[in-house]
């Protein structure tokens, strides 16, 4: 019986450039902590190995500091670690692996699987067949050699690869590095450990994506896990346990607000850990200026509570009604100006349409502010 951890897509060094600098730092640091958690898990569950199915590093040119921190984070598990070069950290002529080897010579427990040849585990009880990427994008299926790979007859055959399983993933994920969906069968694999897809999924029989152990994107495909695998003997069905390792909750929320913003409060109020949540809020609908200003205030409130909040309001439109306008002014030149702006905002052909809508909202907000000051 062999027990191992299957993980992938650590994406160490991912910069998160679209976020505020302090948040970037936290997001980057969390990835090391995820590795620490994996090491601790592997140690506590007495795993025979940890298989990293590619993209441990976000880039071949990560700094030495990041490399060292990674090795430090891995120290919690004595090994062996089997690291497969993925598309982000392909085993190019000179790569992060070149540097890793220079550092990890002493730690024999770290093995870079950059050659398509079997690696025996536990005195030959299991054989790992790696399909390392030596280029970022391969047109051919690098796992093809698994079919004819010779392993000891009593060895459990475990494939290790990085890429897109043909016909199984959403189309946009199939950017290259194809893997046949019947590879496990054809190569008589007891388990095929895959990386590249960031969510945990059994994509084909005995074929698993562990996903990234720490989410780094919004899509809700169950990221933040590792696979704990037990296989009793060659041909025996693997027992696969999905273990949560992620901290940050990346969410995309699409809300429709028409007339009132109550939906926003309800949805955000239901978030389990707002302080660890990165929310991509997509709003659609139309709101009166009153509600719109309320919405802005509510979002400002949530922005301060959530780890990060980004709002896409491209599909959210202002619909100033008579009450809004009356609140600004029932008459006078202000009303005249507001009516002009409303007409502009309502005219789809007007190039200043969006600006006019915002101008109306500004007028409303200013008027309200002046009213509050006057009160």
């Amino acid at each position: 019986m062999i027990r191992f951890l299957h993980t992938a897509d650590w994406q160490i060094g991912k910069p998160f450039g679209g976020y505020e600098p302090d948040r970037r730092g936290e997001l980057k640091a969390e990835r090391f902590r995820a590795v620490e958690r994996i090491a601790a898990l592997a140690a506590s569950r007495a795993c025979d190995a940890v298989l990293v199915a590619g993209d441990a590093f976000d880039d071949n040119q990560i700094t030495d500091r990041e490399l060292n921190r990674t090795l430090d984070a891995m120290a919690g598990f004595q090994g062996p670690w089997i690291l497969l070069p993925g598309n982000h950290d392909a085993a190019l002529g000179v790569s992060v692996w070149t540097r890793l080897r220079q550092r990890a010579t002493a730690a024999a427990a770290i093995r870079v699987a950059d050659r398509p040849e079997p690696i025996l585990l536990k005195d030959g009880e299991a054989a790992v067949l790696p399909a390392p990427l030596t280029r970022r994008h391969e047109g051919a299926d690098l796992t093809a050699w698994f079919d004819g790979a010779q392993t000891p007859s009593a060895a459990i055959r475990i494939g290790l690869a990085h890429g897109s399983v043909a016909n199984r993933l959403p189309e946009k994920a199939e950017s290259g590095n194809p893997i046949a969906d019947d590879r496990a069968d054809r190569a008589r694999l007891d388990y095929l450990a895959l990386g590249d897809w960031h969510g945990f999924v059994e994509i084909a029989p005995r074929t698993f994506y562990s996903g990234t152990p720490e989410p780094d994107r919004y899509p809700a495909n169950r990221p933040g896990h590792v696979a704990l695998v037990e296989i009793d003997a060659p041909g025996a069905a693997p027992r696969v346990e999905r273990v949560e390792t992620g901290r940050f909750d990346w969410r995309r929320l699409e809300l429709r607000v028409d007339g009132g913003i109550e939906a926003v409060g309800e949805a955000l109020g239901g978030l389990p850990r707002p302080g660890d949540t990165l929310l991509d809020l997509v709003l659609a609908g139309s709101l009166s200026l009153r509600e719109r200003v309320r919405l802005d205030e509510a979002l400002a409130h949530w922005a301060a509570r959530l780890f990060d909040l980004r709002v896409d309001e491209r599909e959210l439109f202002d619909a100033p009604d008579e009450e809004d306008l009356d609140r600004i002014d029932i008459g006078g030149f202000v009303r005249a100006a507001v009516e002009t702006l409303r007409a502009k905002a309502a005219d789809p052909a007007d190039p200043e349409r969006k600006a006019a809508a915002l101008a109306l909202r500004l007028a409303y907000a200013e008027h309200r502010r002046l009213g509050q000051e006057g009160a």
Partner: protein, 879 residues
């Protein structure tokens, strides 16, 4: 609004005054200066707008002068058909009271009701300032001296606006509208300058700059990344190339090929050596054959030469024999000619001697005659020279005065005579007629001749015996003349001495004698010249020469001429003939001798030739004999035959070797060797280069591997994306803020136009009365009167005359009051000396204006000039 009555007690400068029954229309209040007209206005303001319990400067100014009393004002007025009575007292025990039929208020409630009725707000300040509360009435109630200053709307603008709101509804937006404009302006100012350009600190601009710098940074990083990847690519490609070399064992193959080529080359080199040996043998045999040929040829030549030399020797011996015979004949001919010439020479010498004798006699005679002539001329010349001698001696004996000397002497003599004559006239003449002449003596004691009168030219003393001494002192210039006379005498004497003459006549005589002598000398000189043209020396030499010649002729046998024929011509002819015969004989001899000499020369040459030929023939014969003795010609011929055969066999060997070599194709072998050597070197170099480059690239890539460029790129891309979103949002905000502010300002301007319209339309009829064809222009934002529009030309208000300004200001106020009244505002116009600068004609017109305005308004005119408003037809109140 209608002011009905006004009563003041102890109010500023007014002790007490009361005005009842003011008209609802036009009223005129007349008062002299300081009568309190302006106090009426102040009192009205205080009554309506001043809180009765207020303190401060403005309120204290209401106190009566120099008295401690409380100022009191009471106003009766109708508003909205309700008659009110308002009474206020200030400072001490301030009170306020407002009463109307069915109602009454007092204290602060009065102030509140007033603010409500007149639609104004009290200043929040505890100590009000002038104008704080004036509101619309600040405009309508014009204080003295301010009527020319335009509307002075600065303070009152909001009041006007506020007041006008009643008419134009809330179109003006009120305070909120104005605040909104300010707020919108603030929003816009974040992004734009007042001139509408993008502000330097605009967040849009900052965001753009940030994006630009991010983009630049990203570009740099991408280039770095690209360079890295290119290098990586190159490394891969080099490694692949290297691997293909190694896989193909290219180096080993190249080395093997090179060795094979070298072996082939060595083999070809052996064949080449054999060929060269054979050729060397052939060349050796050929040289031997050529030696045999040469020897045979030289032997044949030697034999032929010996034969030819024998023949030549024989021919030349014959020729020498012939010449020897001929020489003997020629010698005989020479001897014969020699004898003939000797004979001819003797004959010629005889003829010459005869001829010479004839010629010598005539020469002697000629010489004799010449000698005689020369002797005679020399004698004559001697005589002439003797005559010349004394003449030349005289010439040099004494100097001869010339013409200039004569003239000087004559001048001195003339002067001397001149002075003597003048002295004789000037000097006194003493005539002594003594009894005894001997008794007269001079100072020295010598007797004086008394027979003749005595001329005294100098102080002279006479001693007259028996009488004593007498001194004569000549006067005048006798003394000077005497000195001059003495000087003249001295000059003359000096001249005589210089020319060595005794007198003037002597000088003249000597001059004449000298002239005569020179002529004589000239004549004799010419004669001497003619006699001896060559000089005496030359003539004597010539004479000597002739005499010597004479003697020579005599010595030459002049004595042996007796037998010679007398005829010189015949002698000469004989001599010539003899000479000719001699010449002919001489020539014949010469010819004979030359022929003999020539023949001798030829004979000697032939003899030498003969000797040479003989030696040559014997030498050659000797050589031939020796050679034949050593190895005869037949043997030589046999040698040649053997050599020929040897050469043929060696040539065959060479041909064989050549064929062998050609069969091995040495050129191809050499080319192959070179190509393989180059290929090997090239492969070695390529491998070294590839390994070097791979190592270098690995080093470089490892060095750059940790530069986190990819991470930076991803970060920058993220930042750029976020920045792009922010920029888009900011741009939208900028445009929105501009749009909002622009819309508000545009709407406000339109609104103002809207309500400025009514004011202008009210002003127009009044203005036409005083300034036909004129419109008044207002500034839209400040509401100030900007100027007048006359015939399309705008005239600046400040540049109008004082009269025109006050007229325009007054009619504008009337129009404003109209507007206010129609808007339901209380309005009454008070003009305090507002038309002091207006001319009579215009004043008349202003009366019309006022009358017309008074149809709907109460107008109170305060004036100090009653007559100006006498014709107005309004009730006149006097203070």
């Amino acid at each position: 609004m209608y002011l009905r009555s006004l009563k003041l007690v102890d109010f500023a400068g007014v002790a007490a005054t009361e005005m009842e029954l003011l008209e609802p229309g036009l009223n005129v209040i007349v008062g002299d200066n300081e009568a309190g007209k302006s106090t009426l206005l102040t009192a009205l303001r205080a009554a309506f707008f001043q809180k009765h319990r207020a303190s401060g400067e403005t309120v204290r100014a209401l106190a009566p002068y120099n008295r401690s009393a409380r100022p009191e004002v009471e106003v009766g007025f109708d508003l909205a058909d309700t008659p009110y009575t308002l009474r206020k007292t200030f400072l001490q025990k301030p009170e306020a009271e407002l009463s109307w039929p069915g109602g009454r208020l007092s204290g602060d409630a009065v102030e509140e009701r007033l603010a409500e009725l007149f639609r104004f707000t009290h200043s929040a300040a505890r100590k009000p300032k002038d104008g704080d509360f004036a509101g619309a009435f600040g405009l309508l109630w014009v204080e003295q001296g301010r009527s020319t200053a335009g509307l002075d709307i600065g303070e009152g603008r909001d009041a006007v606006t506020a007041s006008l709101e009643g008419e134009v509804g809330r179109i003006l937006g009120g305070d909120r509208g104005r605040a909104l404009i300010v707020a919108a302006k603030t929003l816009q100012d974040r992004f734009f300058t007042d001139t509408g350009r993008e502000a330097k600190s605009s967040p849009v601009k900052l965001a753009e700059q940030e994006i630009e710098s991010l983009g630049a940074e990203l570009g740099t990083r991408r280039q770095l990344r690209q360079a890295f990847e290119d290098k990586l690519q190159r490394l891969e490609s080099r490694r692949a190339t290297l691997a293909s070399y190694e896989r193909d064992e290219a180096l080993a193959k190249a080395e093997a090929a090179f060795e094979a080529a070298e072996e082939q080359s060595r083999r070809t080199a052996g064949l080449e050596a054999l060929r060269q040996d054979a050729e060397r043998d052939l060349r050796h045999v050929e040289a031997m054959r050529e030696g045999a040929v040469e020897r045979l040829r030289r032997r044949d030549a030697l034999i032929a030469d010996a034969a030819k030399a024998d023949e030549a020797m024989r021919r030349i011996a014959e020729e020498a024999e012939l010449l020897t015979r001929e020489a003997r004949l020629l010698a005989a001919a020479v001897a014969e000619a020699d004898a003939a010439q000797t004979t001819a020479r003797a004959a010629a010498e005889r003829a010459e001697a005869a001829d010479e004798a004839v010629r010598g006699r005539s020469d002697r005679e000629r010489l004799h005659r010449s000698i005689e002539t020369l002797q005679r001329r020399l004698a004559e010349a001697s005589a002439v020279r003797a005559a010349l001698g004394p003449l030349r001696a005289a010439e040099t004996a004494a100097p001869v005065p010339d013409g200039a000397a004569i003239k000087a002497l004559e001048a001195a003599e003339r002067r001397r005579r001149d002075v003597a004559a003048r002295l004789s006239v000037a000097a006194p003449v003493i005539g002594f007629e003594p009894v005894d002449p001997a008794r007269v003596r001079d100072a020295a004691g010598a007797p004086v001749d008394v027979t003749a009168p005595l001329r005294v030219t100098t102080r002279t003393v006479f001693v007259l015996e028996g009488f004593g001494r007498i001194t004569i002192e000549p006067g005048g210039d006798a003394e000077a003349l005497r000195r001059e006379s003495e000087a003249a005498d001295q000059d003359f004497a000096a001249l005589l001495a210089r020319y060595q003459v005794a007198s003037l006549d002597d000088a003249r005589t000597r001059l004449a004698a000298a002239a005569e002598r020179r002529i004589e000398i000239g004549t004799l000189g010419a004669r001497l010249e003619a006699l001896l043209p060559d000089g005496e020396e030359a003539t004597r030499n010539e004479l000597e020469r002739l005499r010597a010649e004479m003697q020579a002729i005599a010595a030459a046998g002049g004595g042996d001429v007796a037998h010679v024929a007398e005829d010189p011509a015949a002698a000469r002819a004989a001599r010539t003939a003899a000479r000719r015969r001699l010449d002919e004989a001489t020539q014949a001899l010469e010819r004979a001798r030359r022929r003999a000499a020539e023949q001798e020369t030829r004979r000697a040459a032939v003899e030498a030739e003969r000797r040479y030929r003989s030696e040559e023939a014997s030498r050659l014969d000797r050589a031939r004999a020796e050679a034949e003795a050593e190895r005869n010609r037949a043997a030589l011929s046999a040698d040649l035959g053997a050599a020929e055969m040897d050469r043929a066999s060696k040539a065959a060997v060479v041909e064989l070797r050549r064929q062998d070599l050609a069969a091995a194709d040495p050129e191809a072998v050499a080319l192959t060797l070179r190509a393989r050597r180059q290929a090997l070197a090239e492969i070695r170099r390529t491998l070294a280069d590839l390994r070097g480059e791979v190592q270098r690239l690995e080093g470089e890539l490892e060095g750059q591997g940790a530069s986190a460029v990819g991470e930076e790129i991803a970060r920058l891309e993220g930042e750029l994306e976020a920045g792009g979103r922010r920029l888009e949002r900011l741009r939208l905000e900028a445009n929105a803020s501009r749009l909002l502010y622009g819309s508000l300002v545009a709407a406000q301007r339109e609104a103002k136009e809207h309500w400025l319209g009514p004011i202008k339309s009210r002003v127009a009829p009044y203005l036409r009365l005083i300034h036909p064809d004129t419109d008044v222009e207002f500034d839209e934002t400040t509401l100030e009167i900007r100027g007048l529009q006359r015939g399309g030309v705008e005239e600046d208000f400040r540049r109008l005359s004082a009269g025109a300004r006050e007229q325009v200001a007054v009619v504008t106020r009337l129009a404003l009051a109209d507007v206010l009244k129609r808007g339901g505002h209380p309005a009454a116009v008070i003009l305090d000396d507002a038309l002091v600068n207006t001319d009579e004609k215009r004043l008349e017109r202003m009366h019309l204006v006022l009358q017309r305005a008074a149809e709907g308004l109460q107008i109170i005119v305060l004036t100090c000039r009653e007559r100006d408003f006498r014709g107005l037809g309004a009730p006149i109140f006097r203070l």
